[in-house]
């Protein structure tokens, strides 16, 4: 177990945007999260990698309580994540989430998908939301598709709309749960490009991914998980060049190969 300096240095800087303390979770007899401790500072990009079934998606989903936890604490800007009601909803509104399967609202047009959050949750006027929504769609390069339905767009376009939908809420942090895993290879880069731009713009991000290139280029810190536990974390260069644990070495070897 290596708690690296990055984590500690960061704690000194101020309150982390996202913090998990001794988080445990079981699915029946399966121990999916084992004593997870994680801090994500403002503007930091943390990439979570690991073999499938290691609990990385579950970890990501506990941060906005799409998954509940058995014990431990999830803190958002130093405050415990509310468990229900208006408080939970307004905390969720401050944290964007991008899913593997996009999850665009299938019965609404692209622009509606982007404006629904601001209009329904933040009470922004329809006109203002639309104006801002179009700007966001332009930013992710799908403005021409605004009036179409989600099913009429390619996977890469849908995922970019999903990112725009999250951005429309002006989130303090964004969670990406394997955002490119459901995409055809030629569409992965168009989504990653948007994410890189976000990271450069200073967005606080937790990214669960299999894209090692992205992890290397963009992340401030790599967290390696296996069997429900954080095995190792560190700066991307160090982690990829000199993994300290056997488990991480095995994993990196298994995905290199070609």
């Amino acid at each position: 177990m290596t708690q690296t300096q990055t984590g500690e240095a960061l704690a000194a800087e101020g309150t982390p945007v996202i913090e998990l303390r001794h988080v445990d979770k079981h699915f029946g007899s399966l121990h999916v999260l084992k004593d997870i401790n994680l801090k994500v500072g403002k503007g930091e990009v943390v990439v979570v990698i690991g073999p499938s079934g290691s609990g990385k998606s579950t970890l990501c989903r506990t941060i906005n309580r799409l998954e509940t936890i058995d014990s431990g604490e999830v803190l958002i800007e130093g405050k415990p994540l509310p468990q229900e009601g208006k408080e939970l909803a307004s905390t969720r509104a401050e944290i964007g989430m991008v899913f593997q399967s996009f999850n665009l609202f299938a019965h609404r047009s692209i622009i509606d998908n982007v404006t629904m959050g601001p209009v329904e949750v933040l009470g922004v006027s329809r006109d203002k939301a639309r104006e801002e929504g179009m700007e966001l769609l332009r930013r992710v390069g799908v403005a021409e598709q605004a009036e179409k339905m989600p099913a009429q767009l390619s996977g890469g376009q849908q995922q970019r709309v999903a990112i725009a939908r999250s951005l429309a809420m002006h989130p303090k942090a964004m969670l990406f749960d394997e955002p490119t895993s459901a995409l055809d290879p030629e569409m992965i880069n168009e989504v990653l490009d948007v994410m890189v731009e976000l990271a450069r713009g200073g967005m606080t991000m937790v990214v669960v991914t299999h894209e090692m290139g992205f992890a290397r280029r963009v992340s401030d810190r790599v967290v390696f998980m296996a069997d429900g536990a954080i095995i190792e974390e560190g700066k991307p260069d160090e982690f990829f060049e000199h993994p300290t644990t056997e488990r991480a070495r095995e994993f990196l070897d298994s995905i290199k190969g070609h």
């Binding site: 509104a93 399967s101 009429q152 939908r165 999250s166």
Partner: protein, 282 residues
């Protein structure tokens, strides 16, 4: 749009026929046509033999009064069906919300109500409103004595139909809505239910057709619906088969109209565009 959809649906469900199969399909189509024609011929012949085609059974339809009287009954049927359908849809929706509530008590109560309305024959409910309720001094017009029980009986089924539709909407849809900060009511009303409706349109149509057919029991409470008026005509003209024949066709037209209306409403609300987004893999 929907035409291409249904073609692709057929292609997805059935293998495209080859030359041999196409020949066999043609063969059986011909056989069926012959059988249907023979059946119709037989019925017409029996009508003729038993004298049902005699003018005295049919000339009543040449009189405007017959049609006005039937028309009044037709309007009665429409009124009762609309009100009963409205009760069924609104109450069914509310029962579904209650049934899906996270409160165990509310959910349990709604489950009991749903199963009660689903399990009890609508005729029994009609007798209840007709015979039992008045003994408690509640005065009710025959209109409500037919619409309430028929609506209640259908509401139980519709609650379960709606619930099935809600459960069929991929979980990712509500997760995305929750992650935007929407609360349960908003997620249900704005995201899940509108999509659930799309899944349940066929069952919804069947159930509304059942409502229309259930209203024919209106004679029990002597509400002048189409069938009740038909019975009056039958007594007056002593023309049983012909009147029932015409009335049956009118009922079929009403139910066909419901079908047509539901499908075109669904299409207009854009629900025929099927989503490509899939369920979250675990």
């Amino acid at each position: 749009m929907s035409a291409t959809n249904s073609t692709s649906m057929r292609d997805a469900l059935y293998e495209a026929p080859g030359p041999h199969t196409r020949r066999r399909i043609r063969f059986w189509t011909a056989i069926s046509l012959v059988l249907v024609a023979a059946g119709i011929g037989l019925i017409v012949r029996r009508f003729y033999v038993t004298g049902q085609l005699a003018p005295r059974y049919w000339e009543l339809f040449a009189r405007p009064t017959t049609w006005i009287f039937l028309g009044k009954g037709f309007l009665g049927t429409i009124e009762v069906s609309l009100m009963a359908g409205l009760i069924a849809i609104v109450l069914g929706f509310l029962l579904m919300l209650g049934r899906m509530s996270s409160s165990r008590v509310l959910s349990g109560i709604c489950r009991v109500i749903i199963n009660f309305f689903r399990g009890v024959p609508s005729l029994l409910l009609i007798y209840f409103f007709f015979l039992v309720v008045p003994t408690y001094g509640v005065k009710m017009s025959s209109f409500w004595m037919i619409t309430l029980p028929v609506g209640l009986a259908a509401s139980g089924v519709l609650a379960e139909v709606f619930r099935g539709g809600m459960n069929a909407v991929p979980k990712g849809q509500s997760e995305a809505a929750y992650s935007l900060g929407m609360r349960k009511m908003k997620v249900t009303m704005k995201i899940v239910f509108p999509q659930a409706v799309r899944y349940v349109i066929p069952s919804l149509i069947s159930q509304l057709v059942v409502v229309v057919k259930d209203t024919t029991v209106a004679y029990v409470v002597s509400f002048p619906d189409m069938l009740q008026n038909a019975r009056v005509l039958i007594t007056n003209y002593d023309a049983l088969v012909s009147v029932y024949f015409v009335v049956a066709i009118l009922y079929i037209l009403v139910n066909y109209a419901i079908n047509h209306l539901a499908v075109s409403l669904a299409r207009r609300s854009g629900t025929s565009i099927i989503s490509r987004t899939s369920e979250n893999p675990v």
